[in-house]
């Protein structure tokens, strides 16, 4: 463990040349999130000026209407989008580090679909279930799927990267079909409520959702950053990690559970937003090279900005029709996914 610590320190806190750029980029991304927040609060069917928004936020609303629109509708929704983006990005970054697979993404390998199935089943079968239980259900579903994929893909070769992804695609197809069957079987009003949630939309998010997401972020993120050192060792490959004194099996299980928890809590609140966990860590990586801890922070900021922007675009582009943010992230994410395929050597096991 101590060697692992020293190892990560080589490109961590003691070297100053790289973090400068990374920290600058982090500042820029956080600034971008703030700009997105302000613009999101301005835009909509009741447009507000930037000064009005700032005034409302600082407690001097120009009108009763502005107070309601900003505080009741737009602010919690935007916060939920930013927090969900950060959670999904962190989940993807952790998953990519642990599986050493640049294509790992919670929505691609069925983890999001597992969470989705659990929640849809609950909505259709037990409609009276309190909403507070949703994250737990989603977590259970996602964890079951993650364990299943691990069990199937890892047993033979210690986890060939491509087999992991392909197994995930197969399981995702299976779970999607199950979810659709639930939707056909369920009563129409319940099915419609589940359907809106499944498209990955933050439009219904209020303060309770935003609070829940922010709470998860505050609870799980310190755990993730505490795990950044073993993660740095894992990134070097299994042999190196073992050589550095890491209990690889246990660490891998813990990190995957953590990653699943991050994705599941986001999915439970705003539905499966596709490709965020895939794209955000790569954006972070392209913008600035850094150690694992800083890379996580950069990924979170990039993910928040991505989902914030996707929500804004979906809200404004075809107004008054709202395009769910999940569709916008999919349309933006697929070209980046293709670009990643073009750069990744496909290694048959």
């Amino acid at each position: 463990m101590t060697t692992a610590g020293m190892f990560s320190r080589l490109d961590g806190p003691v070297s100053f040349a790289l973090p400068l750029r990374a920290l600058a980029v982090l500042g820029l991304l956080l600034g971008l999130c703030c700009v997105l927040l302000i613009v999101s609060l301005m835009a909509g069917s009741y447009p507000l000026g930037a000064l009005d928004v700032v005034a409302t936020l600082t407690g001097r609303p120009p009108s009763e209407m502005a107070q309601t629109v900003v505080w009741q509708f737009r602010f919690p929704r935007t916060l939920a989008a930013l927090a969900a983006g950060a959670l999904l990005a962190l989940s993807g970054a952790a998953l990519q580090n642990v599986t050493r697979n640049p294509l790992a993404d919670p929505s691609l390998v069925g983890v999001s679909q597992g969470a989705g199935l659990a929640v849809v089943a609950a909505i259709v079968v037990w409609p009276d279930l309190p909403q507070a239980l949703r994250p737990l259900l989603a977590f259970g579903g996602a964890l079951a799927v993650a364990a299943l994929i691990q069990g199937i893909a890892m047993r033979r070769t210690g986890g060939a990267t491509m087999r992991f992804i392909l197994t995930g695609i197969g399981i995702a197809a299976f779970i999607s079909a199950l979810t659709s069957a639930f939707l056909t079987y369920g009563q129409i009003d319940r099915a419609v409520s589940a359907l809106g949630w499944l498209a990955g939309s933050v439009h219904a998010a209020g303060w309770s959702e935003a609070g829940m997401l922010a709470g998860t972020l505050l609870c799980l993120v310190p755990a993730l950053f505490a795990a950044s050192r073993p993660m740095a060792a894992m990134r070097m490959g299994q042999d190196v990690a073992v050589g550095l004194g890491l209990k690889v099996g246990r660490t891998r299980a813990a990190l995957i559970t953590l990653s699943v928890a991050l994705a599941a809590s986001a999915v439970a609140m705003v539905g499966p937003l596709g490709f965020v966990g895939l794209v955000a860590p790569h954006i972070a990586h392209r913008l600035a090279r850094s150690g694992v801890g800083l890379h996580l922070a950069l990924s979170a900021a990039a993910g928040a900005a991505l989902v914030g922007a996707a929500d804004l675009v979906g809200r404004v582009a075809f107004a008054p029709v709202q395009i769910p943010a999940g569709l916008v992230t999919a349309i933006l994410g697929v070209p980046i996914f293709v670009w990643l395929i073009l750069r990744t050597q496909a290694r048959p096991a």
Binding site: T167, V321, I331, I341, R347
Partner: protein
Amino acid sequence: MIVPLERPGLSSLAPLLGIAAVSLAFAWHISVGARSIPLHVVVEALLSYDPALFDHVVVVDLRLPRALLAALVGAALAVAGALMQGVTRNPLAEPGILGLLVGASFAVVVVVGVFDLTSPTLIPLVAAVGAVLAAGAVWGIAAAAPGGAAPLTLILAGAAVMAFLAALVTVASLLDEQTFEQLRVWMTGSLAGAQNEVLKWALPWFGAGLIVALAVARQVTALAMGEETAIGLGTDVVRLKALSLFAVVALTAAAVALAGPMGFVGLVVPHAVRLLVGQDYRRIVPWSALAGAGYLLVIDVVARLLLAPVEISTGLVTALIGAPIFVWLVRTRL
């Protein structure tokens, strides 16, 4: 590698038995429904139709079209899958996984939804164009990736194209809810509610695709042994690939025009057939057609019985069966 061209266990009776089994599935498919009709009445209705009898009218006017549809779609997708697996030498190749089904249905949705064109003559053509474009995109992405169009890369490219088109379809359906409400069931792959008009116009595509598939089957066997082997055996590989692509696209277009995207049929059936008849595509192609027809007939009965009186989309059932087999193939063949 020695490919066993003849399997001694398979006597000349096998084709007859196969046809008999599919006919039985066909009759069973017709007999099951809200009003169950005994098998002997079904046979009577088909052989000596009497319009005065109510059961005969139900069989011929209501149930026969759907049974024909299931048989045609199953045969088309199974043959398309078998050809794709042979030509790309990829055990996971299938119209659904490589994006052809999504491409075809995307094209149909756009043309029906955006341009408001509902003439049944053109729908198979539109589906074919969509399938070709999607296949081109998937193949182009995979070929440009390092390592070329390896099985794994092809499937990832297929997943990417699928996710993109699916998102676009959902956006379009949100913008114009009324038109897309009608297409929603069709988009999950359903055998309910296809019109006889579409069946008439999809038949030529199906026939052309099947004839070309049977004609190239011999050379596909050579190609499945490797491109060099095929060239050494005197096969014109480029021409063969073009013909196979035509057959695959025509069959996929016919299937999509009739029933929407029906996933994993082209994956499951050829693999099962290969277990029984060996590696010779002269046998695999006709047996896939037969087995595909029987498979989808049985699946469609299951889809109607499972949660009766609610009917599950047949495409969901094929996915529920096919996806685990896909995972199993990933585990054992790659």
